[in-house]
């Protein structure tokens, strides 16, 4: 229902709370008070994007990087020392984003904290309005800018999920000590259907679901047949009924970047055909974007896929175009500040 040509449809009324910086009013059957869970539970095809965290203490740099996603995504992932590189912390980025109403997904990596630090951070994040967390093991310190650092890995991603679920549902720490208020978090896990051992990957997802995963974001998908094989197993085991699956996608800037990523970024699988197509293109950047859009359209058709997670590292400015041109939102508008303001203006008139 588009009004006067260009004007976008208003975001779903459930996704707009009375205060942009506060979690939304609770809904029955929901674990969190966040927008991402609502979009997914309504059965809409969700879009999330990864924010490239700044190497800076300036909050404006975070806001600049988040603004370009506004109105195009249902959640913004704040990475936690991704690639074992130092950046602004994920909890701080999330706290900045919730202040103005964005819906961040806080990534927690087991590489850098033990169970004492993690549980404290989870409580703090929930207090700051964070509604979604993504539980990760994390890359080894060896691939980052501080290879001499001590890797922690006190928990693994699966046990981390069970720890946070215990905090949310039983309102207690892993030690058994009671919480006065549990963190209302929507729990996410990562999966990589494109890395060996392929037959174990669906079982590993089932383990993560058993430990508490409610949504899952995958590694970059450049190989749709491999994803289809994985999803077939997922559907056979009924996992997509218990966990929303968001498939990772992203534009490749050039054939050279693709080759570099394949060789140097852990767990990224890019078939030769994709690289050949980039090499044969006049404008490799445009071709990379086109491939990404086509992938999204193919992925959307796979049964059991609930959304896409766009990781456009250093090409974040193209996320809105990619989402728009792929048509996955089907005219829907994710939350935007102007609509929040409009709603508040209407309410103040009524009061």
């Amino acid at each position: 229902m588009l009004r006067d040509g260009d004007a976008p449809m208003a975001p779903h009324p459930d996704d707009i709370g009375p205060e942009p910086h506060a979690p939304l009013p609770p809904l029955p059957g929901h674990s969190s008070r966040g927008r991402l869970e609502r979009v997914l539970r309504r059965g809409e095809f969700a879009v999330t994007a990864e924010l490239n965290p700044p190497d800076s203490a300036d909050p404006e740099e975070v806001y600049e990087r988040a603004h370009i996603f506004e109105g195009w995504v249902d959640g913004i992932n704040a990475t936690d020392g991704s690639g074992a590189h130092c950046h602004m912390s994920s909890v701080a980025i999330c706290a900045l984003l919730t202040r103005i109403g964005y819906s961040p997904i806080m990534q927690i990596s087991c590489r850098d904290y033990n169970r004492i630090a993690i549980q404290g951070n989870v409580l703090g994040a929930a207090a700051l309005g964070v509604c979604n967390v993504l539980c990760l093991t994390g890359d080894g310190v060896q691939c980052g800018d501080h290879p001499e650092a001590k890797p922690v890995f006190d928990l693994d991603s699966t046990s981390l999920l069970s720890v946070i679920r215990t905090m949310r549902e039983e309102k207690r720490f892993l030690s058994g000590r009671k919480l006065t208020s549990g963190p209302d978090l929507f729990l996410g896990a990562a999966e990589n259907p494109f890395a060996p051992p392929y037959e174990f990957r669906p079982i590993r997802l089932a383990k993560k679901i058993a430990a508490g995963a409610q949504f899952c974001q995958t590694q970059y998908c450049f190989d749709v047949p491999l994803l289809e094989r994985f999803m077939q197993r997922v559907r056979d085991d009924g996992l997509e009924q218990e966990c929303f699956i968001l498939v990772g996608v992203g534009p490749l800037a050039s054939a050279r970047t693709a080759k570099w990523m394949r060789a140097n970024v852990a767990g990224v699988h890019i078939p030769d055909a994709v690289i050949a197509r980039l090499e044969g293109a006049q404008n490799q950047k445009a071709e990379g974007k086109k491939i990404c859009i086509e992938l999204i359209q193919q992925i959307r058709e796979i049964k059991g896929v609930s959304g896409v997670h766009v990781m456009a590292y250093r090409q974040e400015e193209y996320v809105s175009e990619i989402v728009h041109e792929s048509g996955v939102l089907r005219g829907r508008t994710p939350w935007r500040r102007d609509f929040q303001h409009r709603l508040q203006a209407v309410e103040s008139l009524g009061a």
């Binding site: 006190d154 693994d156 060996p196 051992p197 383990k207 767990g267």
Partner: protein
Amino acid sequence: MQIPAAFEPPGKRPPAGDHGRLRFFSIRHARLMENLYAAFEPILVRLHPVWARIGYTRLERPVAAVESAVKGALFDCRMCGQCILSSTGMSCPMNCPKNLRNGPCGGVRQDGHCEVYPEMPCVWVKAWEGSRLMRDGDRIAEVQPPIDHRRKGESSWLRVAREKNGAVAPAPKPH
């Protein structure tokens, strides 16, 4: 290969590549290892009165030394003190540089080798292979609780003997 696994004291090199390591033999013969342990465990458990008379505390060091020698040779065991080899296809998860006890990370290379040590086959790729050979291999799908770091160096054998006789509470199951 310069950086030790997280679980190891600094300075100790991780196990070398895939040539000639006994642990890969043990994984290839995971079914045999499973049978051997299935025969060994009941004896261990039945001897509880003997262990109790000698005293578990007194036995701890010598038994842990024997266990470390045997399992170190067969599995490159790191003596975490809460052995789950039966649930990991006889591939010791503490050899994973991230100490993952629930499955592989997302960084496994296309050739099935480790993200951190490219020359080492992924512990969990091997675990999956081993588990397919075992009778109870599907235990690989069980969720493992977080590790108890206090138990490092303790004998898992004595713990099993005590737990199966109700002398100590078993490790808590995850929720």
